[in-house]
Amino acid sequence: MPSGDSHSDRDHQSRERKRATSLPPYQGGTQGGRFPNPERKRRAVFSLPRRARMRGGAIRTSVLWGSGIVLALLIVPSLVTLPLALRWYNVQELDSAVRHPPSLSPVVALDRYSGAPGHGAAPPWIRLAYRASSWLGHDDLGRSLLYRILPGFLISLAFGLAAAAMAVGIGALWGAVAAMAGGRIDMLMMRIVDVLYGLPYILMVILLKIALTRPLTAMFGGYTKAADLVILLVAIGGVSWLTMARVIRGQVLSLRGQPFIEAARAAGAGPVYILRRHLLPNLVGPIIVYATLVIPQAILQESFLSFLGIGVQQPTPSLGRLAADGVQAVNMYVDYWWLIVFPCGVLVATLLALNFIGDALRDAFDPQSSATAWV
């Protein structure tokens, strides 16, 4: 079992080393300036010509912008069409639209979509949205793929955010308390994390889901769809806080030894006050960073569970559910490419964008990796 101690020690050492080398410019530090600087020369041995490096930086910036644009391009249409999509995502047309390939003109009659009888009754924005319904094709029940992907994307994103919030809530508290308490309690709490790491992930999620289904469904009354999502969320969030706990513990341990905490303690501040007033502001960076990296992980986990048939239940769409359905619908003899290309494309684009943003945030916030850009 990798123990938390060695990790935090290493963190601490590299922090020390970094502090020692980053002198201010007037003392010949790494900031450059007029003075020759051995640090710069040493690094220059392994660096590319200046132009190549700048090109890399420019690519990085544009990739980051691209990620933001991709997310915005997905979020805005899904939010705008959400009221319609909530009515349309499960409209089935078994006569004309079963596995209909993408087409520019709609293949399902408007009165099925508008929910109101008569074509003329539909207002113009509904007619516009209706015209888009066949752009991405239809699935095996003749449902519009576009109006399943758009709310599915929002569900996946909300799911990822909620799972990240859960991981942060449990993990940060656990790690901070362990580090503040120290000694035996710290050891015990980290041992528990070690043991939980030793459990096979997928089995735990399934067992948690089975165990939670009955009490949570009862709690939600008749809202089985909401209960279903919450159960999945608790199962995934309940397993993914472990890394967060370790990271936060390491951070708190290295912060705790620093003079300003000592000063606060000498001034008579209690542990809760120190945690709230001095430690938490310093932990915001790593918390945001790891939370951002938990979001795509949770979405990915949900897609795996959907692939196994125990994720989001039909007819509720989620990106993972749609991608898994698409992969299972395609075989050697028939080519329903749109069922696999569009959901998988949106899923991969979302995960990529979130991962890129998480990495950039880590770069910006995490003092550990600021020198080692992009990892």
């Binding site: 079992m1 690094r43 490096r53 043991v195 795996f304 991608a323 899923l347």
Partner: protein, 306 residues
């Protein structure tokens, strides 16, 4: 060194015991049991009799019985596969998964470590950025998408690999490659990070000042300490890869162990759940121990420190 190993061994045994207890508590507290699944709607008296037959009416007794059996490597019967014992299931499925997993890890190290080193040496450059972008793509793609893509390209269009199944060498590469992609991504990132740390250290500067060629310094001197974090990641990663992945097994039709983790839990099959968890935990603890020993062998300072 021996003291260190012994201490880790004891800690590992305690961990396994904790994992066993925790799983047992979960197994007995989930609703439903293997005797009332699906069509098997049996009268309560028969169910009680069956539970008594397998000593499952008394939780303490079942806990101790299973533990006693497990110590002798006898995991008892399964309740979902007729005429199979847990031992037979593990004996047929584990070698398949282990072979696939080891191959995947080997691919991951063979690709990930050089990619990480190159990326660290040329950090900030175009090569670095493209390697890291590829890594993020590797982390972002779900296995069932990459598996299906590889399958349709190599098996359906190019027809250079079988579509699925198990038994010949030709069945190996595609699932192993699919399984290795996330590991490649992680190992590349880890290698790059620790390599950057190492390249900034004094002994690298000394080696370069002596006039050694950059290639020797990077691949011989710097790689050794830079490999240590990768090594400690390889312990849990190998355990995970060797116990199989349900998704890869389902996409490629491989009869591995991963499916049993899922099916055991879905069928609420207590024997098989406990058996698979114990196999995983034992593998994890053993591999972590191996990593520990290798760690001390690569970096002798660790032995002195303890």
């Amino acid at each position: 060194m021996m003291r260190r190993i012994a201490r880790r061994l004891v800690a590992g045994l305690i961990t396994i015991a904790c994992i066993y207890t925790l799983t047992f508590v979960m197994v007995i507290s989930i609703p439903g049991n293997p005797f009332q699944q699906g069509a098997r709607n049996m009268p309560p008296a028969a169910e009680r009799a069956l539970r008594a037959r397998y000593h499952m009416d008394d939780n303490w007794r079942y806990f101790l019985d299973f533990l006693r059996g497990a110590v002798r490597l006898d995991f008892g019967p399964t309740f979902t596969y007729a005429d199979w014992t847990c031992n037979e299931i593990i004996a047929t499925a584990l070698p398949v998964s282990a072979m696939l997993g080891l191959l995947a890890i080997m691919i991951a190290v063979a690709v990930g470590v050089p990619a990480g080193v190159v990326s660290a040496v040329r950090r900030g450059g175009l090569t670095d950025v493209s390697i890291l972008a590829l890594v993020l793509v590797g982390i972002s793609l779900p296995t069932f998408v990459t598996g299906a893509a590889l399958l349709s390209v190599f098996a359906v269009y190019l027809k250079v690999a079988p579509v699925g199944g198990w038994g010949t060498l030709a069945h190996l590469p595609l699932p192993a490659l699919t399984l290795s992609l996330p590991f490649i991504a992680y190992i590349t990132r880890l290698t790059r990070m620790s390599m950057l740390d190492t390249l900034g250290s004094d002994f690298v500067r000394t080696a370069l000042a002596k006039g050694l060629p950059q290639r020797t310094v990077v691949w011989k001197h710097a790689l050794k300490p830079a490999f240590l974090p990768v090594l400690s990641y390889l312990g849990p990663a190998t355990a995970q890869a060797m116990t199989g992945s349900f998704v890869v097994e389902k996409v490629f039709g491989v009869p591995g162990l991963g499916q049993h983790f899922v099916n055991a839990a879905l069928n609420r099959d207590p024997g098989l759940i406990l058996a698979t968890v114990l196999v995983f935990a034992t593998l994890l603890v053993t591999l972590n121990l191996v990593v520990d020993v290798l760690y001390a062998w690569i970096d002798p300072r660790i032995t002195e420190a303890v």
